[in-house]
C-alpha cells in the first residue's frame, strides 16, 4: 500500500491546507507533507517492488530514481517555501500551498505510472496545477507568462496524447493495450510506420514539457516570472517527469529494433537545445531567464546522453539527479537575490555577495557546479557524456558539445559574476530581505548533495542508476 499512500499523503495535505484558515500556519503543511513523503519514499525504495491497481502502478528502477529526486527536491523547496511565504504576506497563499502539494502528488503518480494513458493524465494534471503557481505574483507579466505556459504546455501535451494513441494502434490487430509491459512485449511486431510517427509525436509532445528547443519558448517567460521556488520545482522536478516519459517511449522503440531511428532524433534535439540555449545565454541581462536557458541546455544534455546509448544512458540518468538538485541551488539562491534587490536585471543587481553573502556565494558555487566544474556532481555526468560520445566515435557530436559547453560557461559566467561581485549600484532599491535560516539552510543542504554526488556517489544510489540504465537497454 506504499504507492497509493505516497500519492495520497500530499493530496490529503492539500485538502487540509485549503481548509486551514491561518495564512501563517498553512505553509507548514508543505514541510510536514514533504517529511511524510520523504519517509515513505525511502520505505518504498528499500522495500520490494510493489504493484497496485492491476499493474498500473509500480516502481521500477527509472521510476525509483525520479521519485527519489522529486521527494528530496520537494523537501528542500518545502522548507524554503515556509521562509519565502513569510516575506510574501501581502499575497494570500491559499491557492499556492495546495497547488504545490497537488503538484507533488501528480509528479509522484508520473514516477510510478506503468500505463501510457495514466502517465499522460498525470503529466497534464501537473501542467494545470502549476499554472496558478506561475501566476502567484499577480502582475501583468506573470499573466502573460502563465498564458503562454498553459497554451504551449497544453498543446504540447495534447500532441503527446495523439502520439500515445498512435503507439497503441501500432500493434495492429492484437488486443491493444497501453501498459508498458504489454507494449514492450509486442514491440517487435509493431507496424513501423505507426511507430515512427508515434515516436516523433511523443518526442515533440513530451519534449515541449521538458523544454527542448525549439519547443522551449514558454520556459524563459515562466521561469522568469514564477517565484524561485516554483522555478526550482519545474526545472528540477517537472521536466524530469517528462524526461521519464520519453525514456519509457525510447525503451519501447529500442525493444522494437528502432533504437537507431530514435537515437538520431534524440541526438539532434539534444544538440539543438544546447546550441539554442548557448546563443540566448550570451549577453543575457535577466538572471532568472538565464537560469531558464540553462534548463533548456541541460534537458538537451539529458536527451543527448540517451541518444548516444550505452554508457550515455547511465550518464544521462546521473545527470538528471545532478541537474535537478543543482537547479534547486540556483533557483532558490537567485530568488533570494531577487528579493534582496527587488530586481532580476543585472543592471540593478550587483554586489550580491555583500548584501546577501550566503545566497551570493551559493549562486556562484551553483554556477560553477552547473557548468561542469569539478568537484561538483554535474562535472562527473557531463564528463561521462563526452567520454561516451568519443568512445562511440561520434567526434563531431562530442566536439560540438564541448564547444557549446565552453560558450555556455563564458556566457553564463559574465552574468553571474556581475550579479555577485562588486558593490550594489547607488540606484539599487533597498529591501528588508536578508538571508535567514529557512531560506538559507535548504540551499546549503542541496549544495552539499551536489558536492557529495561529485566526490562520491553512494553505492546503493550507483547500483540503482545502473539498474535503471540496464533496464532501459534490455528488451523482453
Amino acid at each position: 500500500m506504499l504507492l497509493p499512500a505516497l500519492i495520497a499523503v500530499p493530496l490529503v495535505a492539500a485538502g487540509v491546507a485549503a481548509a486551514l484558515p491561518s495564512e501563517r500556519w498553512r505553509p507548514w503543511m508543505l514541510a510536514s507533507a514533504a517529511a511524510g513523503h520523504l519517509a515513505l519514499t525511502f520505505a518504498a525504495l528499500t522495500g520490494p517492488t510493489e504493484r497496485s491497481l492491476g499493474g498500473w502502478l509500480a516502481l521500477d528502477a527509472p521510476g525509483r530514481l525520479v521519485l527519489l529526486l522529486l521527494s528530496v527536491l520537494f523537501a528542500i523547496c518545502a522548507v524554503y517555501a515556509v521562509g519565502y511565504l513569510r516575506y510574501r504576506r501581502e499575497i494570500s497563499n491559499r491557492v499556492f500551498v495546495p497547488c504545490l502539494l497537488v503538484f507533488l502528488a501528480m509528479t509522484t503518480l508520473v514516477a510510478c505510472s506503468q500505463h501510457l494513458g495514466l502517465l499522460w493524465v498525470a503529466i497534464e494534471a501537473t501542467t494545470l496545477t502549476t499554472a496558478p503557481l506561475i501566476y502567484f505574483n499577480r502582475t501583468p507579466h506573470s499573466i502573460e507568462a502563465t498564458w503562454k505556459y498553459l497554451l504551449v504546455g497544453s498543446v504540447g501535451i495534447a500532441i503527446a496524447l495523439l502520439g500515445s494513441f498512435f503507439l497503441a494502434y501500432a500493434s495492429l490487430g492484437e488486443e491493444s493495450s497501453l501498459l508498458f509491459s504489454d507494449l514492450l512485449a509486442r514491440a517487435a511486431r509493431m507496424n513501423r510506420s505507426w511507430l515512427h510517427v508515434a515516436f516523433v509525436l511523443l518526442l515533440v509532445g513530451y519534449g515541449t514539457k521538458m523544454g527542448l528547443a525549439p519547443m522551449h519558448t514558454w520556459k524563459p517567460d515562466a521561469y522568469g516570472e514564477a517565484p524561485g521556488v516554483v522555478g526550482a520545482l519545474l526545472a528540477g522536478g517537472l521536466t524530469n517527469c517528462a524526461f521519464l516519459a520519453l525514456l519509457r517511449v525510447f525503451h519501447i522503440c529500442q525493444a522494437a529494433g528502432e533504437g537507431a531511428y530514435a537515437s538520431r532524433l534524440l541526438v539532434f534535439f539534444g544538440l539543438l537545445s544546447i546550441g539554442v540555449a548557448a546563443v540566448f545565454m550570451v549577453g543575457q541581462r535577466d538572471f532568472k531567464r538565464m537560469l531558464a536557458y540553462s534548463s533548456v541546455e541541460h534537458m538537451g544534455i539529458l536527451v543527448l546522453g540517451v541518444g548516444l546509448g550505452g554508457s550515455g544512458i547511465f550518464a544521462a540518468l546521473l545527470h538528471m539527479l545532478n541537474n535537478g538538485i543543482t537547479k534547486g541551488v540556483l533557483f532558490l539562491s537567485a530568488a533570494n537575490i531577487h528579493r534582496a534587490f527587488d530586481s532580476k536585471s543585472i543592471d540593478d543587481v550587483q554586489g550580491a555577495m555583500r548584501r546577501v553573502p550566503l545566497s551570493g556565494w551559493l549562486f556562484l558555487l551553483g554556477f560553477f557546479a552547473i557548468t561542469g566544474s569539478p568537484p561538483f556532481g554535474p562535472f562527473v555526468s557531463e564528463f561521462l557524456v563526452v567520454t561516451r560520445a568519443f568512445a562511440a566515435e561520434r567526434f563531431v557530436v562530442g566536439g560540438s558539445f564541448l564547444v557549446l559547453l565552453l560558450v555556455v560557461f563564458v556566457g553564463m559566467g559574465r552574468t553571474v559574476l556581475t550579479v555577485v561581485q562588486g558593490a550594489a549600484p547607488a540606484a539599487a532599491s533597498r529591501t528588508s530581505y536578508r538571508d535567514g535560516l529557512l531560506t538559507g539552510l535548504p540551499i546549503l543542504v542541496s549544495m552539499g548533495i551536489v558536492l557529495l554526488l561529485g566526490v562520491h556517489i553512494p553505492s546503493p544510489l550507483e547500483s540503482l542508476i545502473r539498474a535503471a540504465a540496464t533496464l532501459l537497454e534490455t528488451t523482453p
Binding site: 494513458g117 499522460w120 493524465v121 497534464e124 499573466i143 495523439l162 497501453l178 505507426w194 510517427v197
Partner: protein
C-alpha cells in the same frame, strides 16, 4: 448501416472544421464547437454498435462536457470581455479556410500511408482526426484573441478524441474519464486566466501579451 452513419458524422466534423476557419464571429465559433462536441459524443456509440454501460457513460459525459459545460464557460468569458469578432487575424479568413481545406486533403493522403486493421478500413477516422488537429493548430496560431486560441485548443483536443475512437476497446474507462477531466479543468483554468487578462489589459488581444521577450 452504422458504417455509413459514422462516415456521415465524420463529414459533418470536417465541414465544421472549415466553418471554424471561415467565421470571425466568436459566438458562432463557440456554437460550432459545441455542435462538434455533441457529434463526438454520438460517435463512440455508433462505432461500438451496441450500447455498453461505460460507452454510454463516456458518450453522455462527452456530450454534456463538450456540448454544454465548456461552451457555457467560454460564453461567460465572452460576455465578460464584451467582444464579438475576431478582427484582423494574422492570415485572412479566406486564406486560412483554403489552408484548412488543403490540410484536409493532405491528411487524407497521409492516412493512406498508414495501415489499418480490417474493421477500420474505409472509415474516415484518421483523416478526420488529423484534419481537426490541424484546424485547431490554425486557430491557435493565426488568431489573436485569447478566447479564440482557447477554442483552438478545444478543437485540437477534439481531433485527438476522434483518433481515440480507433482504440475504443483498449482505452480503459478510467483514462477516458481522466482525459475528459483534464480537459474540463484545463478550460476552467483558462477561463480564470481569461478573466484576469481581461481585467489587467482591458482586452483579450494576445498581441498585448508581448512584453516578455529577449
Amino acid at each position: 448501416m452504422t458504417f455509413s452513419a459514422t462516415n456521415l458524422l465524420l463529414v459533418v466534423v470536417l465541414l465544421l472544421n472549415l466553418f471554424f476557419l471561415a467565421t470571425s464571429r466568436i459566438r458562432a465559433l463557440i456554437q460550432a464547437a459545441a455542435l462538434q462536441g455533441v457529434v463526438l459524443g454520438v460517435l463512440p456509440v455508433l462505432i461500438h454498435g451496441r450500447i455498453h454501460w461505460n460507452t454510454a457513460l463516456i458518450a453522455i459525459a462527452t456530450i454534456v462536457l463538450k456540448g454544454s459545460v465548456i461552451p457555457g464557460m467560454l460564453r461567460r468569458a465572452l460576455r465578460e470581455a464584451q467582444i464579438k469578432r475576431e478582427v484582423e487575424p494574422l492570415i485572412g479568413l479566406v486564406p486560412t479556410m483554403l489552408l484548412g481545406a488543403l490540410g484536409t486533403l493532405l491528411s487524407i493522403g497521409f492516412a493512406e500511408g498508414l495501415p489499418l486493421v480490417p474493421e477500420h478500413r474505409g472509415l474516415l477516422i484518421v483523416p478526420a482526426s488529423i484534419s481537426t488537429v490541424l484546424t485547431g493548430f490554425l486557430l491557435l496560431t493565426t488568431r489573436f484573441k485569447a478566447i479564440t486560441q482557447a477554442i483552438g485548443y478545444l478543437v485540437l483536443e477534439n481531433g485527438i478524441f476522434i483518433f481515440g475512437l480507433l482504440l475504443l476497446e483498449a482505452m480503459p474507462f478510467l483514462v477516458e474519464i481522466g482525459v475528459l477531466l483534464d480537459l474540463f479543468v484545463g478550460i476552467f483554468v483558462v477561463s480564470i486566466i481569461l478573466h484576469h487578462i481581461n481585467r489587467e489589459f482591458a482586452s483579450l488581444d494576445t498581441r498585448r501579451l508581448a512584453s516578455l521577450r529577449e
